[in-house]
């Protein structure tokens, strides 16, 4: 047996020689496959591993029942191997693993522990309580090779009950003077999961751990790690009182691991107590200047960027340092981290981003998609309303040359940034709408959903953008090539809807009708075709009405549009947008004649007739609607002739009025809370009848709050993106844009109007003649910092918002967030701040406001008494005694300022209780007896106040 892992091989070998008395297992032992053999067999199995696995598992199932310890152990070892590398379930063997835990052989014990810690969990194994006694025994073992794996199992697989039962043993191990430092370290690390599982044990653990926050303590590294986790996973408030200890470690420790963790803690604490910043700036700057370790320097940069950014010197230095990261050509890791760190800066520090601008833009062309993504994020955070046009145009151009995935990421970023908060960055909607049109032309385009949403949304919200929307929609609909691309179907659907709804802005409805009815629409999915047909219906109705009305009131051809526009949409008299000016700028509209109407009706008839038998109900129904209209119109002969007076024909008037009234109502955006605005009729008792169901449907609340918090997260994401920076436009790009879309600029260059009447469909591709490097992107770097005013003097069109809906949504989610309780932070607060409230398993915690109030108060008091701490203590104690009843009797007692002492006391009384099995009861008693100590624990809050002064 050539087995180098001699621990297991040795034991397996010895089993062969000494277990002869167990006849049933002798055969098993003799012919048992060793771990090595199994691995070799699996590797060389002809049919692949899966063919051999069932047989091996059968063997293991047989072997594991053996009464021979070593046979069993080897079986468990094999099973552990298979479970952790081949994801085999080994829950069925849990009991066998437990059987091996008490083994006298350290090697067997260790294997069993490893197996248990890899596979046990309180949610999947209910046998864990059986191991309690064994775990306790092993924890107390003087042999570190036994206590160490026991600690490991406790930290990985413990259940709340087990954690509570063993917390006392763990505590004595941490504070033990006999146990080696390595074991105490592990015990301290295990305190974290135990604290999480049994928050009530905080009273014991926290003061103990606080003692190790000494630069010379052997347990420092682990303890700092534990506090770092506690601070970052829960409410950081209670740990403010430990700031002086952390600060001392920051000054004195030489270990990079420790310093990194300490910096992380301060990143969390500084926002709560801004005055901490002053204390931190110097040591952190010192570290940044001196430390050779990149990881530590990076952590300093991160700390400064995220929580010390208002300290000028530190920020300058950090920006200086981050330049080395961002510009590290040979190390993609540093480049990534540099960009990542820059993303932490807020909009107030945009100059720092500006200084690194060139490197950031260059990174857009990095071979690593992750770095590109970071760079894109940063660039989008530089977008402001005065440069949104240039940056978007540049990125769009760049997206053409990127790989499909990144190309779509760019498009998504532009859509997200421009669409943020009701398009707050967009000043010129004509520009934005044409930008959306250009995006669709990108060969990698796959963002149909979002474009569809935004096109329709802009149509509903921004009245002034509708003519341009209709123009863009026409360009898209008319291009037969687009129909074949399934990513574009959504966009086409939106375009068809826009064309139908805002047809009055179209210059040539007949052309759109032809586009909507072209044979290739059979490529579209049925729901999009339904939208197409509905658009045709609206279009026919509009054309007929405008034909009739135009014939009535006009002598000149040009007036036709004027009147129909006013008539068809102005029925309700709330239309401010005057199409006259629009018509004036667009030139004359093609006059609708009876011939063109007849042509259109014929076209609709031929194209839709086959669809009236379509098996898709939506398509069929709408096709029949449209055909019905066509037949009805075809049935009236009068309008087709030139006979005078047909316009006053009763039936025609009737039809015109009917159509006018059915399409005159304007569609608008709907608030998410629209339903709430409708008052409930008195006779309708919504809640009463359903109240009986409340118990049954109790879980409803949870799902509600979930959805609310989701919306909050989304919003947070949007806000993050808001770190904008003013940057400036490149005139050359603006000129380029103006050349392409001159029509939509104010007439400073009047000659452009005519030339752009019918933009070519593939216009964007033609214009992207710039070089295929990132050079043009680098033009961004040429911009000066000073933000210029918008060139266009055009006032921003109003965007219809339904704000109250969003407002309510955010407040609701806020409440949901506040309602979230953290039992552990409550328990820690109780220990570190000495709050009067006792932690209870029911999860009752001290409200955060109360803690902050208390801290604030102590700070205010301390301001009054310049330096006399005695007095401040007095005030503090008065304040406390007035607010709490239970420590009345200790009122006049001398208070010790040293927090340590109070904890010592706490520790001593606890150690007297130690060893008792009735720990829980003792602890309870202790909390009553030690009213005095509990009072003193509050005093660290004074320590931090002195520290800050």
């Amino acid at each position: 047996m050539a087995f180098a892992a001699s621990s297991s091989a040795g034991s397996a070998g010895s089993s062969v020689s000494c277990s002869g008395s167990f006849t049933p297992s002798l055969v098993d032992s003799l012919f048992q496959r060793s771990l090595d053999d199994m691995i070799k067999a699996l590797r060389s199995a002809p049919g692949g591993e899966s063919s051999l696995l069932p047989r091996i598992i059968d063997e293991i199932r047989r072997e594991v029942r053996s009464t021979d310890r070593d046979t069993k152990c080897l079986a468990i070892q094999k099973l552990t191997y298979l479970s952790s590398l081949h994801s085999l379930d080994m829950a069925w063997a849990a009991f066998h693993v437990l059987e091996l835990l008490p083994s006298s052989s350290p090697a067997v014990k260790r294997s069993a522990y490893l197996s248990a810690s890899l596979s046990f969990h309180s949610s999947s194994t209910d046998l864990l309580p059986l191991a309690t006694h064994q775990l306790r025994k092993d924890l107390q073992s003087p042999n570190p090779f036994i206590s160490s794996p026991a600690l490991h199992l406790l930290s990985l697989s413990s259940s709340p009950d087990l954690a509570l039962h063993l917390s006392n043993d763990l505590l004595s191990l941490i504070s033990s003077t006999r146990a080696p430092a390595a074991i105490r370290c592990r015990a301290a690390a295990t305190a974290l999961p135990v604290l999480r599982l049994a928050p009530n044990s905080a009273r014991g653990f926290i003061p103990e751990l606080v003692e190790f926050l000494e630069p010379s303590s052997p347990l420092l590294s682990t303890t700092v790690g534990v506090f770092c986790e506690l601070v970052s996973s829960g409410d950081p408030c209670p740990y403010l009182t430990l700031a002086p200890d952390f600060h001392r470690i920051l000054l004195e420790s030489r270990s990079n691991w420790v310093l990194i963790k300490i910096l992380k803690i301060f990143t969390r604490l500084t926002p709560l107590e801004p005055r901490l910043g002053r204390k931190l700036v110097d040591p952190i700057c010192e570290l940044m200047r001196r430390s050779p370790s990149k990881s530590l320097v990076f952590e300093c940069i991160r700390t400064v960027f995220s929580s010390l950014s208002e300290h000028e010197t530190a920020l300058r230095l950090a920006v200086e340092k981050v330049k080395d990261f961002v510009a590290a050509d040979d190390d993609p890791n540093l480049r990534y981290l540099g960009l990542h760190a820059l993303g932490l800066l807020g909009s107030n520090q945009s100059w720092a981003l500006e200084e690194n601008r060139e490197a950031v833009v260059k990174s857009l062309a990095d071979p690593d998609p992750n770095i590109r993504r970071e760079a894109l994020r940063l660039i989008m955070s530089m977008v402001f309303e005065n440069n949104v046009m240039e940056i978007s145009a540049l990125l769009l151009n760049y997206a053409l040359r990127s790989d499909p995935e990144f190309s779509n990421e760019i498009l998504e970023a532009i859509l997200l940034t421009c669409g943020r908060n009701f398009y707050e960055l967009v000043m010129d909607f004509d520009w934005y709408v044409s930008l959306l049109g250009e995006m669709v032309r990108n060969p990698h385009f796959a963002k149909g959903d979002e474009i569809e949403r935004q096109l329709i949304d802009i149509g509903l919200r921004v009245r002034e953008a509708r003519p341009e929307l209709v123009r863009i929609a026409r360009d898209l609909l008319i291009d037969p090539a687009l129909l074949g691309n399934h990513f574009l179907h959504q966009v086409l659907s939106a375009s068809a809807w826009i064309s139908g709804e805002y047809i009055q802005f179209s210059r040539n409805p007949l052309e759109i009708a032809e586009a909507l009815l072209q044979p290739r629409i059979s490529l579209l999915p049925s729901q999009v075709r339904a939208v197409y047909i509905q658009a045709v219906f609206k279009l026919v109705a509009f054309c007929f009405v405008s034909f009739v009305n135009g014939e009535i009131s006009s002598d000149s051809n040009c007036d036709a549009y004027e009147n129909t526009g006013a008539d068809s949409e102005g029925g309700d008299g709330e239309v401010e947008c005057n199409p006259n000016s629009f018509v004036g700028s667009m030139g004359t509209k093609e006059h609708i004649t009876s011939k063109s109407i007849i042509h259109m009706l014929n076209l609709v008839g031929t194209a839709l007739n086959p669809l009236s038998e379509c098996d898709e109900v939506e398509v069929q129904e709408r096709a029949r609607n449209a055909l019905g209209l066509v037949h009805m119109l075809n049935g009236i002969e009068e309008w087709k002739t030139e006979v005078e007076g047909w316009k006053t024909h009763g039936r025609i008037r009737e039809i015109v009025e009917l159509m006018n009234s059915s399409f005159s109502e304007e569609l608008g955006p709907v608030s998410t809370l629209a339903q709430m605005k409708i008052s409930v009729p008195q006779e309708l008792h919504l809640k009463e009848n359903l109240s009986d169901l409340a118990e049954v449907l109790g879980s409803n609340d949870i799902s509600l709050s979930l959805s609310v918090s989701f919306s909050l997260r989304k919003q947070g994401h949007f806000e993050n993106k808001d770190e904008s920076e003013p940057a400036n436009e490149s005139t050359s790009l603006l000129a380029e844009h103006r050349k392409r879309h001159g029509l939509y600029y104010l007439p400073t260059e009047p000659d452009e109007n005519g030339s752009n009447e019918y933009p070519r469909a593939n216009e964007f591709a033609l214009s992207s003649n710039s070089s295929n490097t990132t050079e043009d992107l680098l033009k961004l770097t040429d911009h000066s910092l000073i933000s210029r005013k918008m060139k266009s003097a055009k006032p921003r069109p109003t965007v219809v918002k339904l704000n109250e809906g969003d407002f309510l949504a955010t407040t609701a989610s806020k409440n949901a967030n506040e309602a979230k309780e953290d039992v552990l932070s409550g328990a820690v607060k109780e220990v570190l701040l000495g709050s009067e409230e006792k932690p209870s398993s029911s999860g009752k915690t001290i409200p955060e406001e109360a803690i902050q109030m208390r801290l604030k108060e102590t700070l205010i008091y301390s301001k009054f008494d310049s330096g006399s701490t005695e007095k401040s203590i007095l005030v503090e104690s008065k304040h406390r005694s007035s607010s709490s009843q239970k420590n009345n009797k200790n009122h006049g007692k001398e208070r010790r300022r040293n927090s340590k002492k109070s904890e010592d006391k706490d520790g001593n009384s606890r150690s007297s209780a130690r060893g008792s099995h009735h720990h829980a009861r003792n602890k309870h008693k202790q909390s009553v007896e030690l009213g005095d100590a509990a009072l003193d624990v509050a005093l660290p809050s004074l320590a931090i106040q002195d520290f800050l002064l």
Partner: protein, 143 residues
């Protein structure tokens, strides 16, 4: 919990060691490993060692045919984790003398013990190679 999991995966994407510090069911583990392998193994030398995945970050490093992948919280220091990976490799190297994939396959338990000595519940507790290896050498001697 700084470190969420440590994975060793070979070039073919087969898991060679998996240690999780947070509980995941077997299905979740399998899915996670598959996703991570797909994401990380396709990356080239010129690309950075950090990949964002779900709600955490993966810091990885390739040594010959083995990928060392460590899943960490988002605010963990990436460079420190890279140093940790290197320490782990050096430790294994010292013990196995020029460690390779087969060493870890055939001595999975020992590899786990080394990791146990270094990481406790996701916290790095020991960084000295000598101290990490002492108990393992003692165990070797005892048997």
């Amino acid at each position: 919990m700084g470190i969420r999991f440590v994975l060793l995966v070979n070039k073919q994407g087969q898991t060679r060691l998996a240690q999780y510090y947070e509980y995941l069911t077997l299905e979740e583990r399998r899915a996670l490993e598959g996703e991570i392998v797909r994401k990380c193994l396709a990356r080239t030398e010129q690309q950075c060692s950090f990949v964002e995945h779900r709600n955490y970050k993966i810091v990885y490093r390739r040594y010959a045919s083995l990928f060392f992948l460590v899943g960490v919280d988002n605010d963990e220091n990436e460079l420190a984790i890279l140093e940790f990976i290197h320490l782990l490799v050096e430790t294994m190297d010292r013990h196995f003398a020029n460690v390779c994939e087969l060493d870890i396959m055939f001595h999975l338990e020992k590899a786990h013990f080394m990791l146990e000595e270094m990481v406790m519940n996701g916290c790095i507790v020991e960084t000295s190679k000598t101290i990490i290896l002492t108990p393992i050498q003692l165990m070797d001697k005892a048997s």
